[in-house]
Every structure is written in structure tokens, then in C-alpha cells.
Symmetry: C2
Subunit: 332 residues, 2 copies
């Protein structure tokens, strides 16, 4: 069984661990968001790809939820002593080795997908069931337009990382743009994986800055739409709030209500020009499923908390199998 | 009083600490060797400049003699886990912050001299008496041609760092080249400092791979030759052996005997086309001074061990003042 998962970082990696637990024989291709990527201190940093790799390797710091466990901070302390900006983005010592390797390989002309493969081989081993692909080898960066009373224009555009890590997603969001996305092409393997998949899953990652950019790479949305496999999406909005992250700050800026059903409608049914066959929401949002009537989306409500890989696997299997309302079973 | 010192790394920095102790009112411009510089893991590393900066800041590791005290090795451990070559060159975590900053500034278009100034300001403060200049802003690298029985040609060319750190200076040396030196120009400030100096000193650094490259940058040798100040050199060869480093392996490859007087003759007297007015050797080499007769060099024998800055200061003052044999006092 071949499964393709479109995913962001922290939530996406928990979801993929659930997918692996749900389908112990399956091979899983993860198409990861790279629009969070950023260059700092001359290092090319891919937060979502690294979070995915570290998490699947069991090497992620369980308390912080990002970065490596057993991490050191000597380089960062020293950069701070140099007053080398940005000092608001923490880079662990072990993590920096990843970025050094990536930056050097990119400078030598290797595409990000090849770099990602090398890093994944080290962390996951050569016989891993997971293949991690960046959505694109091209540079795409999410920039957020925020209100800024100190700016003459009353607004300012910042990199997503600055919005999230430095500004704690506090300033009102006026707009979101994925810079460079219109010229990006899907990384080698992405379209082929979608065409060959037995099942396509959208992780409950941020619809605006994680899943949004992946689908936004020209050709990816079309490949999802035309994939022979069923496409099932899972809501990261539970009871009107994101489980993780700051989607509640970003969804309104793209005209989407912070509501599980609204996000499902935002993705849309493949039968009506969208990318999903079924949308799975949390049990707490069962009532909102009524809003999907007429959308063409099959839908299911189920507890969606990703507390453990086993609980995550359970809701993934349930979501894929379909509900008692008779929507077709999408995979066995 | 303005003093210019041409210097390498470990020995050079001990010597400069002696100069500062000997002349507490002087301003000292150090022209540092950059031909040891190397790019590893995408980081531009300037071992001699950094050793000088760290040592003058009192931040150098006293046991290793290089790198920062209170250093960590997490990045390096991780690079080794990635099998990211070269793994034979140790980079400390704190040290890596220096290299990140330098690499980034160079990539942004700043010349090495500006980068060096920024780093020195952090480590030595804005009011330091020392100005550290790289010999050149251009890329110059010492390559060593060594015997290699496993190579079809019987030889191999390696970067100086590989020769010294990885091969422990063990293979027979067939030749030494400073790649790029013929196209290099002195860094901003080097020629002006030599022209304005009250005293020019050659540290007892390696004549082949430290002082050699500094003098080899087109224009520097001529500026030393025509400097209005006296030029005094100090031998790093004591009793036929280098106090530090591997000059004994390299001198024969450039046709110079491993002997204090022979090195003095290699530098030569300014009155006879060389760069020195006086050559100072260790007391143990007093007998060899006879070999300097007719060379035009004034000479002096004095204990030259750089055990403490104070002892170093003593021999520097003695060397500069001149000997009881009546050679002219070069500075007060």
C-alpha cells in the first residue's frame, strides 16, 4: 500500500506517526511544506522537514515539541554574545549540524529533495518506510503582512518565522503571501507519488501556511484532484481553535472562518473543484458537519486528539474507512 | 609608538602578548597570516586570525593552545554522526559562531579585513591597542606537496591544514605553494601601517607557512624593505628545532636548513635585498651567529622561550635595543 501525506511540521509529524501505526505494511511518502524555510546566520533552515525527520526518528525534543532532544545551545549563546541577529530564533548545536550539511549541499548544487533524502537516510535509515519529499526544490517563503502602528504605512511584511517566533502571532494579520510559489515546480517524485498512491491524506496541519503552500505549488493541486486514490483530510481546528499553532490568526486573512467545517469547505470536494473526498472533524465539531451538506464532501466526526500514535492511528483508520452514514469505504 | 608585527597563529599570538607587555603605550598593528585559511562544512575558517584574537582576549584554551576555552563539541559530534567530512578538523561550538558570522559577512560582500575588525571589536573591545589585519582580503591557500606511495604519481597535494592536522606533518614534503598569492593584494591598512611604523617585528612564527605568505603578498615585502622603521626578526628555531609547529618539515622543501642562523639568512638583511635589520636567536644558538657574518644582519642571542608575556617582553625589548656588540639601538 502506498500512502501520500501532505503535511506541515509539528502536527504533521504526529499525524504521520499515526499513519505508520495505522498501516504497518504501507510505504508512506510525505510531501512536506517548505514555505516556512528561512536563511539565518547563513544557514538554510527547513523547520517542517526537520521536525518531520527528527520526530519520525524519535529524536525530537518531547518537551519543546521541536528541535532535537539532548540539545546544546553553545553556538546560539555565542551568536548572542556577538549580537548577531536574528537572536530571536533558537538554533540548537546538534540542529546546526543539520543546517551546515544542508547549506553546504545546496551550495554545491544539490536540490533540496536530494539533501532531504540524505538527511532522512541518516535519521531514519536506508530501509525506512517513509520517504520525505519537500513540496518543491525551489525557494518559496511565506510572508505575512501585519498591522504595525509604528510604520508610516501602518503595516509591515515579515517572514512567517518572524511572525510566529518573534512576534508570537500577535499583530493583526492583513494578508499572507507565498513568495515565489507561482514559479515553483513540484520536487521530483511528488506528482508521481500522488499518481501512484492508494490513499492520499491531508494532515491536520495549518491550512494557510502548511497545507496551503503544498497545494499551491503549481501542479500539486491538480495532481491531488486527479489522483486515482481517495483523498481524506483531517481538521486541525477543534471546537473553533487550532490544536497547535496559529491558524486562527491566519484563516481570517484568507477569508476562512476558524471552524472545522469552514476549513473543509475551503479545501472543497474533488467533485466540486476541490481536493478532498472526505473531511474528518473532531467529535466536538459533529454539529458543524451540517454545513457541509451539498458541498459534495463525505464527512465524519471522530475524536482527533493526537495524544499517542495509536490514538492517532485509530482516528486515521476510522476516517479512511468512512462513517456509519454510508459514505463509501475508501481503503481497507 | 606604532609597532607592526607580522605573525602567524599560536606562536605569533604569544609574541604579540609579549609586545604589548614590552611597550605598554604602543599601538600594535598585527598583520596576520591567512594562508592557513580553509573552508570546511561551508564555513570560512581563519585559524591564525582567530588564534590571535582569542589569545589576545584571554579566551584561548590554555591546554589545547588553540580554540576557545570552555568550549563545547556538540556540532562536531553531530557532523561526525552524519559522516560529514572532514571529520579530522575539530570545530568547537563557540568557535563555530565565529565562523558563521565570518562566512555570512563574506557572503554579504564584506572583505575579510572588515570581518576581522568586527570580530576583534567583540573580543578585544573598541579601545584595544591592537589592530588585527589579515595580510590580504584575497583568498590565498598554502598547499603542500607530499610523498604518497599510494598515488600513481608517488605524490599528492594537500591543503596545509590536511598536512598538519590530519597527516600530523608526517609525509615527506616535496614542495610548498601559496595558491593565489601572486594575484593577492595587501589588505587595506597593511602598507600604510608599515610606512607609519616606529618599529616592525617579525614574530618567531613559521618562516614557510606563516611569515612566508605575509611577505609573499605582492607589495608587502617591498613595504617592509622600504619601511622607515627598524625591522627586527625573532627566530622560532631553537637548537635546530621549532619551538612550536612543523617548520622543520617545511624549511628543507624551500631549501633552508633547520637552523636559527639559516632562517635569518633566508629573510636576509635589508642592506642586501632582504627584510631584516636585526635577527634575534636563542642563547642556545649563539654559536651559529658566526654564520651571519658578512650578511649585513645585526644579530643578538637571548633566551627566546615565550613562557610568559613578561619573559617574552624581556627578550623583545632586548632584541629591539640591540646587543652589547655595539649594533645600533633600534628603538628606545
Amino acid at each position: 500500500m502506498q500512502i501520500v501525506v501532505l503535511a506541515g511540521g509539528v502536527g504533521g509529524s504526529r499525524f504521520v506517526r499515526g499513519v505508520l501505526a495505522a498501516y504497518p505494511q504501507a510505504r508512506v511518502t510525505v510531501v512536506g511544506n517548505t514555505a516556512d524555510d528561512i536563511t539565518m546566520h547563513g544557514l538554510r533552515i527547513c523547520p517542517d522537514l526537520d521536525t518531520m525527520t527528527y520526530a519520525l526518528a524519535g529524536a525530537i525534543d518531547p518537551d519543546r515539541g521541536w528541535g532535537l532532544a539532548d540539545e546544546g545551545w553553545r553556538v546560539m549563546e555565542e551568536l548572542r554574545a556577538h549580537q548577531a541577529e536574528p537572536t530571536w530564533f533558537n538554533l540548537g548545536d546538534r540542529d546546526i549540524a543539520t543546517h551546515l550539511l544542508r547549506t553546504q549541499m545546496l551550495a554545491a548544487g544539490h536540490p533540496l529533495s536530494e539533501v532531504t533524502r540524505v538527511l532522512a537516510r541518516r535519521w531514519l535509515g536506508a530501509d525506512s518506510r517513509v520517504e520525505l519529499l519537500p513540496m518543491t526544490d525551489d525557494r518559496v517563503e511565506t510572508h505575512v503582512r501585519v498591522a504595525d502602528p509604528h510604520s508610516p504605512s501602518g503595516e509591515r511584511v515579515v517572514h512567517f518565522q518572524e511572525f510566529w517566533v518573534r512576534l508570537h502571532a500577535e499583530p493583526p494579520v492583513l494578508g499572507v503571501a507565498q513568495v515565489g510559489i507561482e514559479r515553483a515546480t513540484p520536487a521530483e517524485g511528488v506528482l508521481a507519488a500522488l499518481a501512484a498512491a492508494d490513499l492520499v491524506l491531508l494532515a491536520p496541519s495549518n491550512p494557510v501556511v502548511s497545507i496551503g503552500p503544498v497545494l499551491g505549488v503549481p501542479g500539486v493541486r491538480e495532481a491531488v484532484r486527479s489522483a486515482p486514490a481517495p483523498v481524506v483530510g483531517f481538521s486541525g481546528i477543534l471546537s473553533g481553535r487550532p490544536v497547535l499553532g496559529m491558524a486562527d490568526k491566519l484563516l481570517p486573512a484568507v477569508g476562512v472562518e476558524v471552524d472545522a467545517a469552514a476549513v473543509g469547505l475551503h479545501y472543497g470536494a474533488r467533485s466540486a473543484g476541490g481536493v478532498l473526498d472526505r473531511w474528518v472533524v473532531d467529535s466536538a465539531d459533529a454539529a458543524s458537519l451540517a454545513r457541509l451538506r451539498g458541498s459534495g464532501l463525505a464527512a465524519l466526526a471522530h475524536p482527533l486528539l493526537m495524544t499517542t500514535p495509536e490514538l492517532t492511528a485509530e482516528f486515521i483508520r476510522a476516517g479512511v474507512a468512512g462513517g456509519p452514514d454510508g459514505d463509501r469505504a475508501l481503503a481497507s
